[in-house]
Amino acid sequence: MATTLVSDLIGRPALDRDGRSLGTVQDVVVRRTREGRYEVVGLVVGRHTVAGRFGYGGTLEPPTPWHRVLRWMRRHERYLAWEDIADPADPVRARVASTDLRAWRGHGHGRV
């Protein structure tokens, strides 16, 4: 059984089907399955995750004066589903074109 560290995965460059850059891997999205395992369902890619790192996109609503700034800061974040990944090695290669990816609209806290 092969293992990888999340820290190893985060920061890898990601390319789309045509070799265009999607930025780097910013985060790994998992879901708890019926069997109680935590399965990777996709990656968040983009240029940086300053705003995402703060928690915007989860339970955190941007405070009154900051809506626009934060939306602008997160404009390049994309969600890359696991089934759309051709090769998770370094660099990560997607099966799809960058224009087919949707923006990352993240989910919140993982209370089990």
Binding site: T3, L5, G106
Partner: protein, 132 residues
């Protein structure tokens, strides 16, 4: 168990406080291990890593390499970070709560300082709530 909404490891799991089964702090989630199981399919989260040996690679680049070599020199016998199986985790957020005791290894530095430094200073056994 029901299926839950997806969440981000980087935000929800990494860098969270670990609280062991007795309610005591036991370090931070310094890294997360993913395992590819045989027969294909996406990887699953298999373990949380804690301890300075796991933090080093996170602080990547030059500083991270220096950290790693310093750690190896300080404790040559222990090169692997402390490992906590995902099955032992009751909750990830807001803090990572374990159902079991923290791994012995995560408390080596604490135990050493307790026995060799702090424990030797008079009054070290008394807290604010007297009588302990």
């Amino acid at each position: 168990m029901e299926e839950q909404t997806p969440f981000r490891i980087g935000f929800v799991v990494l860098d969270r406080q670990i609280i062991d089964g007795d309610g005591r702090p036991a370090g931070k989630v310094d890294d997360v291990e993913l395992t590819w199981e045989e027969g294909g399919g996406p990887p699953v989260m298999s373990a949380l890593l804690t301890d300075s040996a796991a933090l080093g690679p996170r602080i990547s680049g030059r500083a991270g390499r220096l950290w790693r070599s310093a750690m190896r020199r300080l404790r040559p016998s222990v090169s692997e970070p402390a490992r906590i199986a995902v099955e032992d985790v009751a909750a990830f957020s807001p803090s990572t709560r374990l159902t079991t005791a923290a791994p012995e290894q995560a408390n080596l530095a604490e135990a050493w300082l307790r026995d060799h430094v702090i424990g030797r200073i008079p009054g070290a056994r008394r807290g604010d709530d007297a009588g302990e």
